[in-house]
């Protein structure tokens, strides 16, 4: 069979637009899951296999949070405990069917996770890590001391197992359908089937989520929260969502744990459990689809193996007491693995030749000739509202960065904003886009007040921006960066993405094509598959513009688009900005490069020391006495003649016009 066969994409529910190789891999895993345990007539091995399966579930969730979304949690052991206790208590005290207990346990852990995340996700870095540690310790203290409920270190005994066609699963008698030497079936196999299939489903669903818009968005939030906001992503909601989802999976894992032996005890749920789960993810390979599975497999088996070392004859007697403390090796191996495999075991495996071909990536969409920027809303149907800043003030302590500036940016025009460094240009942009909340004054689009709105709501109104210090999603491809710009226009819901419905996949394809069109409009089509961070500076700025254009904005604010762009490419940039204006987008451009800004602007405003000093056509502003003074100092200072319009001038990096 040729490689094109394996790369063919199928059309089936859940596997919509998945390659033949991908489906074959899933099918093979399912068969292996079902058959292999029958061959192993060993309850001890089955118990280990069950552990691998339920820890994989928790690790997949934690990988979504830590690897893809980029938040460290040392509290998922606590959520694992919440799932375990919830399910165990429901089953023992209220005799709820075990299936229901497990689902409720997972859901309750998700709820608790969201409750922890809601007030605390504003904390970052070590602060967030500490919050999660605190949660983990609190859960342990509660489990240990609230003995009326949890029985503490004494433990909850006789937790019922899942019922297998009417029989409690641990009561199933061992059954050999093909004679004494043949396959063996019993309760431990059945329970492995259940947990293993659950893990397979979770793996599949996680793959679905991460392959599409959901995964792209959490990746984007990790790489630049501010850029995500300005293209319409409610960063906070997505972070809480990712936390809650990982909490559900930790809870599900805990519930499966509780019903494995039918006995849980508070000592299991120390802070170490949280560390253990994180170790599965990091050593397995964070931000890798199969990393959690690999991590859980190796790290469940490893300690079990180390425990058995003492029984071997070749081990010197003197070493045996040390082997009892097998965790000593575990700690050492942990450090060794971390150092030698920085992207985990999955990362190390990925470098094996040939493996990459097994799961071929989706090819980029075809190129279509694009003459002009196609606009979804069109210039006729849209509101032709002006963006207005009225007496905007922004103070930082005693510093008046912007002190009462009024601007009106008329629709369909290019409005230039100039001023020396520190004159308040970027602060104005931050006020217009909701990054800062102005100290005073109003910002509105037409009649809609935007003062109190967060950046993602302002983006939804059709006002977006680029950044002076480029804020691309660095690890994502150029195409995916642009795809992020469609965030607000993509409608497929969480369940659609989870189940990979036809509508979801088709929407994704449609927007990929549109993103490709946008890239060819900007002359970037050949770079669609390139990682954004590997592009030269000037091209990165264009990609940022492409991403902003994907929003189909009314107003596009360009914060120093020419900074770092080679002199030879300025003309191209001017041309691009004009073509965007011609497509009906209002543009506010903040720039030091005078040739550019004077060449393209219909209207120019000049700022100095947080106040407006001049406004008018480019010619008027260039001739304005106060502008010249602001840039060059008072005339008598060095007795320099003022710049006259039309005189050839070379701007230097800080905007001073040298002659």
């Amino acid at each position: 069979m040729t490689s094109s066969f394996w790369a063919r994409r199928l059309s089936a529910p859940i596997f919509h637009h998945v390659s033949v190789a991908g489906v074959a891999l899933t099918a093979a895993s399912l068969v292996a899951l079902l058959v292999v345990p029958l061959l192993l007539d060993n309850a001890y091995y089955m118990r280990i296999a069950q552990q691998i399966a339920f820890y994989t579930i928790a690790a997949i969730g934690l990988n979504i949070l830590v690897g893809y979304q980029g938040q460290v949690s040392l509290g998922h052991g606590g959520l694992f405990a919440v799932g375990a206790y919830t399910s165990a208590l429901l089953a023992t005290r209220f005799e709820v069917p075990v299936w229901v207990c497990i689902v409720v346990g997972a859901a309750f852990a998700g709820l608790i996770g969201a409750l922890v995340a809601l007030p605390t996700l504003r904390a970052k870095g070590p602060y967030l890590a500490m919050v999660t540690i605190a949660f983990s310790v609190i859960v342990y203290v509660v489990a240990q001391n609230w003995t009326d409920l949890t029985r503490g270190p004494e433990g909850i005994k006789n937790i019922p197992g899942i019922s297998w066609f009417g029989t409690e699963i641990r009561q199933l008698r061992t059954y050999r359908p093909f004679g004494d030497d043949g396959l063996t079936f019993g309760g431990s196999v059945a329970y492995f089937w259940i947990v293993g299939v659950a893990a397979l489903l979770v793996q599949l669903f996680a793959g679905n989520l991460l392959a599409g818009r959901w995964g792209r968005t959490i990746n984007a939030v990790r790489q630049s929260e501010i850029a995500s906001e300005t293209i319409g992503v409610s960063v906070y909601r997505w972070k809480v969502g990712a936390f809650a989802l990982s909490a559900v999976l930790a809870g599900l894992s805990g519930a499966f744990f509780a019903h494995q032996d039918g006995y849980i005890v508070s000592d299991t749920f120390t802070f170490n459990k949280s560390v253990e789960l994180l170790v599965f993810v990091i050593l397995g390979g964070a931000r890798s689809l199969f990393g959690p599975l690999i991590g859980a497999t190796v790290l469940v088996i490893l300690p079990e193996y180390l425990k058995t070392l003492a029984s071997y004859e070749w081990v010197p007697v003197a070493l045996k007491p040390i082997i009892e403390h097998y965790l000593l090796f575990y700690g050492a191996l942990l450090i060794l693995f971390l150092i030698t495999m920085p992207d985990g075991m999955a990362g190390a495996l990925k470098r094996l030749p040939g493996l990459a071909r097994l799961l071929p990536p989706v090819p980029p969409p075809a190129l279509r000739p694009v003459a002009a920027l196609a606009r979804a809303r069109g210039s006729n149907g849209m509101t032709r509202a002006e963006l207005v800043a009225d007496d905007v003030k922004m103070y930082f302590g005693g510093l008046k960065a912007v002190d009462g500036v009024s601007l009106t940016i008329d629709p369909g025009r290019i409005h230039g904003l100039i001023g020396p460094n520190g004159s308040g240009k970027s602060t104005i942009v931050n006020c217009l886009t909701g990054v800062y909340r102005p100290t005073g004054g109003t910002v509105r689009l037409g009649d809609v007040a935007m003062n109190a709105l967060p950046p993602h709501s302002i983006a939804a109104l059709g006002v977006t921006r680029t950044f002076q210090n480029i804020q691309l999603f660095r690890d994502l491809s150029v195409l995916d960066n642009v795809m992020m710009g469609y965030h607000l226009r993509m409608k497929s819901g969480f369940l659609g993405m989870l189940f990979r419905t036809r509508a979801t996949v088709e929407e994704e394809e449609r927007f990929r094509q549109e993103a490709m069109d946008l890239l060819s409009f900007l002359g970037l089509a050949s770079l669609a598959d390139t990682e954004a961070q590997s592009l030269p500076y000037g091209l990165q700025r264009l990609v940022e513009i492409a991403r902003a254009l994907a929003l189909d904005p009314h107003v596009l604010i360009l914060d120093e688009p020419a900074a770092g762009v080679p002199a030879g490419e300025i003309a191209t940039l001017s041309d691009v900005i004009r073509r965007i204006r011609d497509a009906g987008v209002t543009i506010l451009v903040i720039e030091h490069h005078m040739d550019l800004v004077m060449g393209i602007s219909d209207h120019v405003t000049a700022l100095d020391y947080g106040r407006k000093i001049a406004e008018g056509t480019p010619e008027e502003v260039q001739a304005n006495e106060r502008v010249i003074v602001a840039y060059l100092g008072p005339k008598d200072m060095f007795a320099l003649p003022a710049t006259e319009p039309g005189v050839e001038s070379t701007p230097t990096s800080n905007g001073v016009v040298a002659r």
Partner: protein, 300 residues
């Protein structure tokens, strides 16, 4: 219980809680200053700090109780041992992993803590070891409030150690170089400061602080292999609430948490260990950057 009774109970336990709390809290603060020193220079902390403390405490048991050495000699040995351990942990668990996902160093230092705990179990066993105070075990009573001489010693010694540390950091050229590295490693390197060496020094200081804390606290609580885990985490909580880049904030919060812990213990003993962490979650929900850290607007 009516409110008046609660208030009177509270007032009755408060003096004792303050005395014991300040003693334990100053130990938290001392450990947490170690987090401060390494975090400002490298944005990493040693999650095995609690285990370093444990090794310090158990080593002092070996030296003072088993070998019958003089306290000062034991102190010197512990300080040297901690300095060596600081160099090793920086070299093995921090330096290779600082860039990894921002969590690599958390896991590697947790790995170090696992190793140290297992080692301590092998070498010192699982028993709780009593390290007698050099000042005896007779409490001094002031009113109804008892205070052990060792507690006074702990408070005085840890405050002096912290004062010496701050003096060193703010006044000496060496301390200024350390601060320069904290502020901007690249620029500090260009100014001829050996950044790598500074990081090692930060870890040495941090480890020594943990070792001293261990020696001080051993006579108050028993020394054993598991003693460090919770102490280290509570001290980390103090560092976070105080604002990890603010040594004075850390000192105040450390002592505050010590007192809060004893108040909580007087109300319900089993609640004691949860109190610190509950306070932390509530405070961070209110001020996500810690109590004493200024809010800075992100520049874009």
């Amino acid at each position: 219980m009516d409110p008046a009774e609660i208030v009177s109970t509270f007032l009755r336990i408060l003096p004792q809680a303050i005395v014991s709390g300040v003693a334990l809290g100053s130990v938290y603060a001392l450990i947490a200053q170690g987090y401060y020193v390494t975090f400002t220079t490298t944005e990493t902390v040693n999650f095995a700090q609690g285990e370093f403390l444990m090794v310090g405490a158990l080593t002092s048991y070996t030296l003072l109780v088993l070998s019958g050495l003089n306290f000062l000699v034991a102190l010197v040995v512990v300080v040297v041992l901690m300095a060596v351990m600081g160099v090793v942990v920086e070299r093995v668990a921090i330096r290779p992993l600082r860039q990894l996902l921002s969590v690599g160093w958390i896991l590697s230092t947790v790995g170090v803590s696992v190793i140290l705990r297992q080692f301590a179990e092998i070498y010192w066993g699982r028993e709780q070891r009593r390290v007698p105070s050099i000042f005896g075990d007779t409490p001094i009573f002031i009113g109804g409030t008892g205070i052990f001489p060792q507690e006074v010693f702990v408070i005085v010694a840890s405050l002096l150690t912290m004062a010496a540390l701050l003096f060193f950091l703010k006044r000496s050229t060496f301390g200024k170089a350390l601060q320069a590295v904290a502020f901007n490693p690249a620029a500090a390197g260009l100014m001829g400061i050996n950044v790598r060496q500074m990081v090692v020094v930060a870890y040495i200081i941090s480890s020594i602080l943990a070792g001293i804390a261990g020696m001080l606290v051993a006579p108050i609580i028993f020394a054993h292999a598991e003693m460090g885990a919770l102490l280290g985490l509570k001290a980390f909580a103090a560092a976070i609430i105080g604002g990890i880049e603010n040594p004075i904030g850390i000192l105040l919060v450390g002592i505050g948490l010590g007192i809060a812990e004893f108040v909580a213990a007087a109300i319900n003993a089993s609640f004691r260990d949860a109190a610190t962490f509950l306070i932390l979650i509530l405070l961070l929900a209110w001020r996500p950057q810690g109590l004493f850290q200024r809010v800075t607007a992100e520049k874009v």
